[in-house]
């Protein structure tokens, strides 16, 4: 895996990409949101202070999924009226990028997927079923969420968002799906719920008294 190195256009700090396909990163020092172009890094925004972390996961947390090691390299943080959740951007050993979501310590791993005729946000109703990859998914909750911030490396540009809609799907087997309406074209993610202990996570955040 190559680790291209450049400097923050804002503060000059060294920027190291852990994943060669990363499109966006955040300068750890000045919190500038940087987007990779063909020639250099461009500052597109600034991350506001994030709230105290409730997730035990952090950048550089390592774990194992499906017998493959992964490392956490980025994160998108969302809030909604009943709390918040993190989408941790992980890179599997071998270079495949995936997401480890932590919604109040309920963990799931998912991968970007393609499917034709995805429903529009206003066509969704709780209880609807869809079949993707020969698996029936039932819409369990539609969450109007609020983009709260980003950290680290992401596989796409993601900044300056406000309100986004998510549709979460469950199955009878522990598999799950998410439709992300951040962009005009809905994005589908397919994955499954995972147990904290099964991920064998290292480099976790420590909590005082625990």
């Amino acid at each position: 895996m190559s680790q291209p190195v450049s400097n923050c256009p804002n503060c000059g700090a060294k920027i190291v990409f852990q994943w060669s396909s990363s499109v966006q990163t955040v300068c750890q020092y000045c919190k500038s949101i940087l987007v990779r172009t063909d020639v250099d890094l461009q500052k597109v925004g600034q991350v506001a202070d994030l709230p105290p972390d409730t997730s035990p996961i952090q950048l550089n947390t390592e774990g194992i999924y499906n017998k493959k090691a992964f490392v956490v390299i980025g994160r998108i943080l969302y809030e909604y009226d009943q709390g918040g959740w993190n989408e941790w951007h992980i890179v599997m050993n071998g270079g495949v990028s995936a997401w480890l979501s932590d919604a109040q310590n309920e963990y799931a791993v998912s991968f970007a997927a393609n499917a034709p005729n995805l429903p529009g946000a206003n066509q969704l109703r709780v209880g609807q079923s869809f079949t993707w990859n020969n698996q029936v998914y039932t819409l369990s909750v539609i969450t109007p969420a609020h983009y709260r911030g980003v950290e680290g490396e992401l596989p796409f540009q993601y900044w300056d968002k406000t309100n986004v809609t998510f549709a979460d799907f469950r199955t009878q087997t522990g598999k799950f799906a998410t439709l992300d309406y951040s962009d005009p074209q809905p994005a589908l993610y397919l994955g499954e719920f995972v147990e904290f202990d099964d991920l064998k996570l290292k480099n976790l955040r420590s909590f005082e008294g625990w």
Partner: protein
């Protein structure tokens, strides 16, 4: 996958920790234990529900709490180890349902671990449940739900109301909030769906004894006695019912095999047999000596039983035989009388029969030795001659013992089944599907 060590240490984001703050309404101390997971926190002194995400702890709701309100049995802040994971009690609420005008209250405890999903305990009259949120989706069909391949039966649908809250909650809790709760059971588990306007949440509860809770959280004293039968309480006998009928079946088969085996294996040695003809003229003689003795035969082996069988060609007639089995060596005698009678005919109900051509009797504990029979026949005077035969068998299997063994197995099986059925009746009496009451109406 290391970034190397060229970067100096970063200040990092603010560290979450137990925060001490004050209630904006009454000034009492507010402690946040769940490190930023709390959405709402309740002031214990003035019962204000506060926005835990707001640095100023904005008041979201105030509610009245009766002084009679029962405090949590596990105090907030108590840590314990449940099924191998450490948890701290951070929240407590009382909820209730109304069934036929009667209110039923239960308590729920919110358990927190910074690495694990929130877990809950519920308590109703000393019955506890260990509750987790389902990740898999149950599938409902008429009256039942299938979850992870197991069938749960519908128990109750009700409207649950939140009446009292204390501590912190990782969701927006409010007093007066309603949820449509539907419960399905497969003891010791209960599957519940809670439906609000926006969401359906399924949770799985597993019955846990109060004593386990007391042990897990190291609580003083002992857990209150559970009252009555709870919806998903494991029946003390339900597992035994299958086991005992299984055991019963196994033993019944074993008995059958033993009976068959004994029957086949038994020597049933015929020690003596002979045929005679009874002539009534002999007995017609009032002073006639009708009795006679048989030849001597040997009864061998250990002290055992002797079967004396009589077959007689009786046809709407009878013969009565006074027997004596006499030991020639010791003079010991066993006296017994046997009747062989067989009647048949036809009446308004159809044909009928009574009796048979055969009779047998078992004489127990007969030692080995040389024996003979003294036989004194009496017969139906209307039938001048009745041929009959006598057979003496040594060491025959006695099946009455097996019958007793069979009963000895059957009785506990029935008793346990009855006990289990009573338990299930008590369980389902509280459901939406109470069993039909037979006879007495003891309310």
């Amino acid at each position: 996958m290391s970034t190397g060590s060229q970067t100096p240490p970063l200040p990092g984001p603010p560290k979450p920790q137990v925060k001490a703050m004050n209630c904006p309404s009454c000034g009492a101390a507010i402690v946040l234990r769940s490190l930023g997971h709390a959405e709402t926190v309740v002031c214990a002194s003035c019962h204000s529900i506060l926005d835990a995400k707001d640095p100023n702890l904005q008041v979201l709701q105030k509610f009245e709490a009766a002084t009679s309100e029962v405090p949590p049995m596990i105090p907030l802040g108590t840590r314990g180890k449940l099924k191998g994971t450490d948890y701290e009690v951070i929240g407590f609420q009382r909820r209730s349902i109304k069934v036929e005008g009667v209110r039923y209250d239960w308590h729920e405890y919110v358990l927190f671990n910074p690495y694990k999903p929130i877990r809950y305990l519920s308590e109703y009259q000393g019955h506890w449940n260990d509750i987790t949120v389902c990740k898999e989706l149950p599938t409902a069909s008429f009256g039942t739900v299938v979850y992870l391949g197991e069938v749960y039966k519908h128990f109750q649908s009700s409207d649950a109301n939140t009446n009292f809250v204390l501590g912190e909650f990782p969701w927006q809790v409010r007093v007066g909030e309603h949820a449509a709760v539907t419960e399905y059971i497969k003891p010791p588990r209960v599957l519940a769906s809670e439906k609000t306007a926006n969401e359906v949440t399924w949770s799985l509860g597993e019955y846990i004894y109060g004593s386990e809770i007391w042990k897990a959280f190291n609580l003083p004293g002992s857990a209150p006695e559970a009252i009555g039968v709870y919806e998903n309480q494991p029946s003390p006998t339900s597992t035994n019912v299958k086991a005992i009928w299984g055991t019963f079946a196994a033993f019944a088969i074993l008995l059958f095999v033993m009976v068959a085996g004994f029957d086949v294996a038994s020597p049933k040695a015929v020690a003596f047999e002979s045929s005679y003809v009874f002539t009534s003229s002999a007995s017609a003689d009032p002073k006639g000596e009708a009795s006679f003795v048989t030849d001597i035969f040997n009864l061998e082996g250990r002290t055992s039983n002797v079967k004396v069988s009589t077959s007689a060609a009786v046809d709407n007639s009878w013969i009565y035989l006074n027997y004596a089995l006499i030991n020639q060596d010791t003079g010991q005698a066993w006296d017994f009388g046997r009747e062989v009678s067989y009647y048949h005919g036809y009446d308004s109900d159809g044909s009928w029969t009574e009796g048979s051509n055969h009779d047998s009797v078992i004489i127990p504990s007969v030692p080995s030795g040389h024996y003979y029979l003294r036989i004194e026949p009496e017969g139906d005077a209307r039938h001048p001659t009745i041929p009959y035969s006598v057979e003496v068998q040594r060491d025959v299997p006695v099946f009455g013992f097996f019958g007793l063994a069979f009963l000895a197995l059957l009785i506990p099986a029935i008793a346990i089944t009855w006990k289990s059925m009573s338990f299930e009746r008590a369980r389902w009496a509280e459901s939406d599907h109470p069993p039909i009451q037979i006879g007495n109406s003891d309310d």
